[in-house]
């Protein structure tokens, strides 16, 4: 297993670039799931944090014997969240990138993503073309979204929320733009 978070989201070009951002890694048996999300980002930080805490709590106890079951369980827990606790947008502004992995491979899924970069070393490439179903409008979906099984393994995935216009720097500054300290 790799140790850095596998899923990251770019911050926004504002005074509070990571308002409403969540990042969580959960290990379970032989699998791991990394989640990066942004919710209620337009709200005051106190309210955004409450929404983040709701997502955080929802992921508690996510379990699965492999990447597929862990990914599904994590999503199902998110889908059961009380949307009233996700800020004034009721979760309709949610952007989320999830990377589930085990010894056999990995799965990438998400919502609200305008772009996903796969980063390895100093190289960053677009994981999918702009029409791929991994990309789309923000919002907590009604059902578990389909997941992509990338060919390569071990890359770090960086999501850019739909509608976010930022000049993305090259690695390693790209990670700082995701709030990696």
């Amino acid at each position: 297993m790799t140790s850095p978070p596998r899923a990251l989201l770019l911050g926004s070009p504002s005074r509070l670039p990571f308002n409403g951002h969540l990042r969580r890694v959960l290990d379970c048996e032989g699998a791991r799931v990394s989640v990066a999300a942004r919710v209620a980002a337009s709200s005051p930080p106190e309210e955004s944090w409450a929404a983040v805490s709701t997502l955080w709590a929802a992921l508690d106890g996510a379990t699965g014997r492999d990447r597929g079951t862990l990914c599904r369980d994590a999503w199902e827990r998110l889908l059961r969240v009380d949307r009233a606790k996700l800020g004034p947008g009721l979760g309709a502004d949610l952007t989320l990138l999830m990377v589930a992995e085990d010894a056999e491979g990995e799965l990438v899924s998400g919502c609200g993503l305008g772009l996903v970069l796969a980063v390895e070393g100093a190289e960053a490439r677009e994981l999918v073309d702009p029409r791929h179903p991994l990309l789309g409008e923000p919002g907590l979906p009604d059902a578990v979204p389909r997941a992509l099984g990338p060919d390569r393994r071990g890359e770090i995935y960086i999501g850019m929320p739909t509608g976010l216009n930022v000049n993305r720097p090259a690695p390693p500054r790209l990670f700082a733009a995701c709030g990696v300290r």
Partner: protein, 247 residues
């Protein structure tokens, strides 16, 4: 109405020079210039401007302080920072009074930021305090951070406000942000320090929180911070242990 003693027998603006001499002597004798300025504001505003802001303006502290009572009239002649900069330059001893009036009249003005540099021991402190709870407060915190007014922001956080904490962190002043965070929580246990730190730096702020914890003195502050530490297991453990050692 009969003119005051300093204006007796004078015709303004012709006798401005004479008035300046009389007023200077009166000021040096310690006489209050407020009645003169009051009268000039009503009857000869040009003379008031000449005495307070002109090339040969009165430099005594009492004269500058008396001029501040007519800030509105001075601003009509010379808007924005100009009258205040002039008054402060005339008498450094009265500069803090000048800044006080300027902040009272233009609390959110951006020109107060460089103006405070030359006057306050902790530049920015006065304007930050004056805007606490007001709409431009956060923007002013960022602006003062950009101007290097870090100490004022640290002290301001002692009011329980979190915007100074965030502004310091955004300016890359991690140590100051940590100190400010501790002060904010100590002043107001429910100060939302964690949400604001995370909003600036991202979710990975456990290192900062671990540096805040040793600076906490009260159990109330520690307990309040603990409520926000769910995503930070190491910080939660350290603070939990620290809490057991607190009353």
């Amino acid at each position: 109405m009969r003119p005051g003693p300093l204006l007796t027998g004078l015709s303004l603006p012709r006798d401005l020079e004479l008035l300046r001499d009389r007023a200077g002597e009166a000021s040096r004798r310690g006489e209050d210039l407020a009645p003169l300025y009051e009268e000039l504001a009503e009857t000869a505003p040009v003379a008031l401007i000449d005495l307070t802001l002109g090339p040969k303006a009165m430099k005594e502290a009492a004269a500058v302080r008396a001029a501040l009572a007519h800030a509105e009239a001075l601003e009509r002649h010379s808007p924005g920072m100009a009258p205040y900069r002039r008054l402060a330059s005339l008498c450094p001893e009265a500069a803090l009074d000048v800044l006080t009036v300027a902040v009272a009249r233009h609390a959110a003005a951006s020109w107060l930021i460089p103006f405070a540099d030359k006057i306050e021991a902790r530049p920015g402190a006065m304007q930050l305090a004056a805007n606490r709870g007001a709409a431009p407060y956060a923007a002013l915190c960022w602006a003062h951070a950009a101007a290097g007014h870090f100490l004022a922001l640290v002290v301001e956080a002692g009011s329980g406000a979190v915007e100074p904490v965030a502004a310091l962190l955004a300016a890359g002043r991690d140590n100051d942000a940590v100190e400010a965070a501790a002060r904010a929580i100590e002043a107001r246990a429910d100060a939302p320090v964690v949400p604001w730190l995370a909003a600036v730096a991202g979710p990975q702020i456990e290192d900062l929180l671990l540096r805040v914890i040793p600076r906490l003195r009260s159990a109330e502050a520690a307990r309040a911070l603990l409520l926000h530490l769910t995503p930070f297991p190491k910080a939660r453990g350290v603070l939990g242990a620290a809490l057991r050692g607190m009353r």
